[in-house]
């Protein structure tokens, strides 16, 4: 039994505040509240609890506008994992490898972060944990060369899914964005016509800068989806709503911990409900 809540300006202000605190951003929050007010009027909702439910639907509707499915239809298919430093790319790849291996897929990993200390070692451990092969070269070798090798190994070994790790890079570093564009082109050249999912990894604790990340990474590579990590913390990850709306990029997975099974397929309504928990 929920106590009756009055539908007034104070309620809408409270809800707008909750959206901003969830990192949804001022502009998107105000758009959502305007949409909510319209629906409340049209549907003649008079109980504040039902207003909250309607709000969850508004948000879920925005997120469901995009195709949240993965499309890995060729053999091999490729998943390129990109994002700024420390967001959870390497760990997410370990989880994805486990996820697809459990579906009976033959998975190959490419250690294309040849720059950061012990990055190759880290991915190597995930390869053993998930029972997948890994293509790696010496530290400081050319990442594009590792990807080139990995694409050809994927073809030769009859691999179903090739997952490429890349070094963390800030989106405002032009040379690093250029390197990423080159890696992306290598994949398309070596595996022409293959299904390619380029997943941008975003940390749920990130604020409005995530929109800038999504914009600039989109210029370097064709982003097909987002992995939103660290949702097991207290951050809500609301920035994906603005990104979904402004850039039409869908969320495909969420990370909810540091273990091999802590990856979930993205569910817009569950995400909307969790925003208010």
């Amino acid at each position: 039994f929920k106590a009756f809540v009055k539908v007034d300006d104070e309620l809408f202000d409270e809800l707008e505040e909750a959206l901003i605190m969830a990192d949804i951003g001022v502009e998107t929050s105000s758009y959502i509240i305007k949409e909510l007010r319209d629906r409340v009027k049209t549907k003649r909702i008079t109980d504040g609890n039902l207003v909250k439910d309607e709000l969850k639907d508004v948000i879920s509707d925005i997120l469901s506008q995009q195709d949240c499915q993965m499309h890995l239809d060729s053999n091999p298919s490729v998943i390129l994992v990109i994002g700024v430093n420390g967001v959870g790319k390497t760990t997410s790849i370990g989880k994805l490898a486990t996820y697809y291996k459990a579906q009976g897929k033959k998975v190959l990993l490419a250690a294309a972060d040849t720059f950061r200390a012990a990055a190759i070692d880290q991915l190597d451990i995930w390869a053993s944990r998930s029972g997948c092969d890994i293509i790696k070269q010496k530290e400081n070798s050319d990442p594009a060369a590792v990807v080139f090798d990995a694409c050809n190994a994927a073809k030769a070994r009859g691999v179903d899914i090739l997952i490429c790790d890349t070094a963390g890079r800030l989106h405002n570093k032009k040379n690093l964005m250029a390197e990423l564009a080159k890696i992306s082109r290598v994949i398309e050249r070596e595996l022409p016509g293959a299904s390619k999912e380029t997943l941008l990894v975003l940390d749920a604790t990130t604020g409005q800068n995530a929109v800038s990340q999504a914009k600039l990474f989109s210029e370097a590579a064709n982003i097909s989806g987002i992995i939103l990590t660290k949702l097991d913390g207290t951050a809500k990850g609301g920035i994906v709503i603005a990104i979904s709306r402004e850039l039409q990029i869908p969320v495909k997975f969420i990370g909810v911990g540091e273990g091999t099974d802590d990856l979930q397929v993205f569910n817009p309504l569950d995400f909307a409900i969790a925003l208010f928990e």
């Binding site: 070692d121 990130t206 800068n209």
Partner: protein, 293 residues
């Protein structure tokens, strides 16, 4: 920029007539929006704007010919003052070795910051630090610290991943005393502020080796959640300072204000890149104008 937006708010005045309370209210709305867009926490923004609003209702602003500029100056001065006035230094122990413990959320930049701090202390103060691998969980974390140590010729103390981090810290301090290393820099595993068991581990390390500095490493692009993180870490450990990382990005960095406001602790360093040389002292006035955009 905030200056332009405020000019817009006041342009109806065009030099004729004085500001009234509504003008100040409209101006404060622009200040609030600017800070929220910069990722300053909502509640921190509310308090800050209330404070600035009171200062702006003074006579000089109401009669000023350049109210927009005056208000931007008040906001900038208030932000700078809140950020901590001047650069804060590291606390060293009267009885070496000093112990510095770095902590924070997953991926914030702790391990790299340990390397940077070590290099900085070697170069600036001729210190002989000891890096300590207390992250026994993350795959290849120990190796990562060892590779960094090798790059800067600083020894790394590690006991593998089967010994408790509390014990590793304890033995590291003993090792430092025996071999004349100072300071001891503890790299800890990234953890959630709501993970009781792991926050407890930090409390136990603190109790065992009594650090002279407990530095919270915070990612400069953190959003509204910065307040939760800083509050929990500070309540549990009594943090002594903050290192703000990834400031070489294009984030406005409002998390800096939120963390400072909620803990009252100084931001001691700014990490401005991935290389070990990329550690700089933190300048409150530069951060203030960066947040304002």
């Amino acid at each position: 920029s905030l200056g332009d937006k405020l000019q817009g708010v006041f342009k109806r005045l065009r030099g004729k007539g004085k500001l009234n309370e509504k003008d100040i209210k409209d101006a404060m709305r622009e200040v609030k929006l600017a800070l929220l867009e910069a990722d300053v926490n909502f509640k921190v923004v509310k308090d800050f704007v209330k404070n600035v609003s009171e200062k702006s209702l003074g006579h000089e602003i109401m009669e000023s010919l350049t109210p927009a500029q005056q208000i931007v100056k008040i906001v900038n001065d208030e932000l700078t003052a809140l950020m901590g006035g001047e650069n804060a230094r590291l606390e060293f122990s009267k009885k070496p070795p000093s112990v510095f413990m770095l902590c924070g959320l997953q991926g914030a930049g702790k391990t790299t910051a340990c390397g940077k701090l070590a290099l900085n202390l070697v170069k600036q103060m001729g210190k002989r630090p000891l890096l300590v691998a207390c992250d026994i969980y993350r795959p290849a974390a120990i190796k990562q610290l060892q590779v960094l140590g090798e790059q800067i010729n600083v020894p790394v103390f590690a006991l593998g991943s089967d010994i408790s981090p509390v014990e590793i810290a304890r033995q590291a301090v003993e090792h430092a005393k025996k071999h004349g290393n100072d300071p001891v820099i503890l790299d800890t595993a990234g953890r959630l502020h709501i993970d009781e068991r792991l926050m407890d581990e930090l409390k136990q390390i603190k109790e065992a080796v009594e650090p002279d500095e407990i530095l919270l490493v915070v990612d400069a692009m953190t959003g509204q959640d910065a307040v939760n993180v800083a509050e929990h870490f500070n309540t549990d450990l009594e943090v002594s300072g903050v290192i703000l990382s990834k400031l070489d990005g294009d984030t406005r960095g409002g998390a800096a204000l939120s963390v400072r406001q909620v803990t009252g602790k100084p931001i001691k360093y700014a990490s401005m890149g991935e290389k070990l040389a990329d550690l700089q002292p933190f300048y409150p006035d530069r951060m203030a104008s960066r947040i304002l955009g």
